[in-house]
């Protein structure tokens, strides 16, 4: 009996010891979990504070950008206003419309007129360059033909060439279809006319300036070849810097501003291309340098600058898509066009005319269950009255129900102008866009996996919900 009692007692004691051990272990585990939760809470607090700080910094930067825009716009206006009177007065006087002036006075008027024109060009060029380098001169990409643009540039410069007895020649080695690429036609024309104008200025009379196009499936290139005095090897690169000319007297003698090539380089870089100068080669004697210079512009068709700034050079052919797309633009006309294009390519579409509507529709769709399809992607106009595109994007991304929906921003600005928005959006299409560009970008975004940013937000929300339980 006593043996039985001692066995029972030891079992009882063992149970108590076990309970104490288990209790202690559980207590430690609970404490550790509490500690974990506390540190997660801290981390969440820190990340919220960080997000707040980032948001404030963004707002400050956008204020600064705005102030700079205003300043440049005002300076430009203040410089142009007196120049308008000067140009008008000198132009009328030197035209002889108001009566004849004697030869010496006529010469002085000519000097004043020419230099006014030079000052106007200089102001235009400085502002142009400033805007481009600060990313405030968006390129408006559209499908255009390099041959047509070259033809237009040659036609524009023919009068200038004729005046200097120089022949302009356009040679194309590209198949018809290979001429097409996505570019800002006004900007490319600006580059081509600038290169032609330089070539004409530095060519001897009775020589030929050639504009040559080569295009294939990988690249597209334009060369402007002159037979002028050539550029010393040590200056081939520096001529693309501001106010760097081969000879210091060139700007006064040739009437240039010293900024033309810097502008050309900026424009070409904005298009994801390259521009450089090289001495001409005599193909009969390849080891010898022939007189004159060749300026080369090259665009690679494989450039995918979407990650940094630029839409791709060649949009992929629009393919058949599927899924429900929410299209938001305050302009009903644009909305109709986009919806029509999407429907034709197999997408289902719902429309929203404001940021508020986007938030409401996105949440409504997210709350519904299958078989009603959830939104696969949102096309969001950047400039919206009321809740702006930016604010809408932020709200979408900060709500767990809608954070994972990819958003493509439609904007007249280039992505490089709005780097902060790019971080949150999964895609970007610059207005005006063509159907291919839009559908290509949509297909790309829908195919790619959710970005790390969206996943991170979801994780934070998971932690937050654990903490509040």
């Amino acid at each position: 009996m006593s043996q039985q009692a001692s066995i029972l007692l030891s079992i009882f004691l063992a149970c108590i010891v076990l309970l104490v051990v288990v209790g202690l272990w559980l207590d430690r585990k609970v404490r550790r979990q509490e500690h974990d939760l506390a540190s997660l809470g801290e981390a969440l607090k820190r990340s919220r504070a960080h997000a707040e700080e980032q948001r404030n910094r963004l707002a400050e930067r956008s204020d600064m950008d705005h102030a700079k825009d205003e300043f440049i716009s005002t300076v430009s206006h203040e410089l142009r206003t007196p120049l308008t009177s000067i140009r008008g007065a000198l132009g009328l006087l030197s035209s002889g419309l108001l009566g004849n002036v004697d030869g010496r006075a006529q010469n002085l008027l000519r000097i004043a007129s020419t230099n006014t024109e030079r000052l106007i060009r200089l102001i235009n060029d400085i502002l142009d360059l400033e805007r481009m380098e600060s990313g405030r001169a968006p390129v408006n990409l559209r499908r255009c033909s390099i041959y047509d643009l070259s033809r237009e540039a040659v036609d524009t410069m023919t009068a200038l060439a004729d005046a200097s007895s120089i022949r302009l020649e356009l040679n194309s080695y590209a198949a018809h279809d290979a001429n097409y690429f996505d570019a800002d036609p006004d900007r490319i024309l600006q580059v081509l006319t600038n290169l032609l104008s330089n070539a004409i200025k530095f060519s001897p009379a009775n020589s030929t300036v050639t504009l040559q196009i080569d295009a294939n499936i990988e690249a597209l290139s334009v060369k402007v070849i002159d037979r002028g005095r050539g550029i010393p090897a040590d200056k081939l690169e520096s001529i693309f810097d501001r106010f760097q000319q081969v000879e210091s007297s060139d700007s006064s003698k040739k009437g240039g501003t010293g900024l033309g090539l810097a502008i050309c380089r900026s424009i070409i870089q904005q298009h994801g291309g390259m521009i450089w100068a090289q001495p001409n080669r005599d193909w009969a004697k390849p080891d010898q340098i022939a007189p004159g210079t060749t300026f080369c512009v090259q665009f690679s068709r494989s450039v995918r600058a979407g990650d940094t700034a630029m839409p791709m050079m060649m949009s992929p052919m629009a393919e058949h898509g599927e899924g429900l797309i929410l299209v938001c633009d305050d302009d009903p006309g644009i909305r109709t066009v986009i919806c029509e294009q999407l429907r034709r390519h197999g997408y289902d579409v719902i429309e929203a005319g404001s940021g508020e509507e986007v938030i409401a529709l996105a949440h409504e769709q997210a709350m519904r269950n299958a078989p009603v399809p959830a939104i696969a992607g949102i096309l969001l106009d950047h400039y919206l009255p009321g809740l702006s595109g930016w604010e809408t994007l932020r709200q979408l991304k900060s709500s767990p129900a809608t954070a994972a929906i990819p958003v493509i921003v439609l904007s007249v600005s280039s992505p490089s102008e709005r780097p902060l928005l790019v971080g949150e959006a999964q895609g970007w299409v610059q207005k005006p866009f063509n159907e291919n560009l839009l559908l290509g970008e949509l297909a790309r975004v829908l195919k790619s996996k959710p970005k790390a940013g969206a996943v991170a937000i979801k994780q934070h929300d998971a932690i937050a919900s654990r903490l509040t339980v």
Binding site: T84, R87, A89, G91, R136
Partner: protein, 126 residues
Amino acid sequence: MRRILIIDDEDDIREVAALALETTAGWEIVTAGSGPDGILAAANCKPMPDAILMDVMMPGMDGPTTFRLMQQNPELAGIPVLLLTAKVQGVDQRRFAGLGFSAVLFKPFNPLTLAAQISEKLGWVD
């Protein structure tokens, strides 16, 4: 003969533009130095001006506001208005787009071709 109303707060620009249009195209020019004066001048002009050349930045009432007020007056609403601006930045141009102006011309203009530019924008063939 065409009759043009120039509204610009800069005396010198008004004078130069008027002289340029008179001498190169032989048009009759009326000028006003502010938005309100411009609206009065347009209303009192008999016959009405064929076109109005309007500055953007004017103290008091700016060009777009003057234009909007003119549009509310059925007598003046039909006169084509060309904006003449020293603001050539893209962002400024976008601000003017869609406001209903017949054209936007830029300062500094070429005095010898200003009349031709206006005729071209308005489709005048004479």
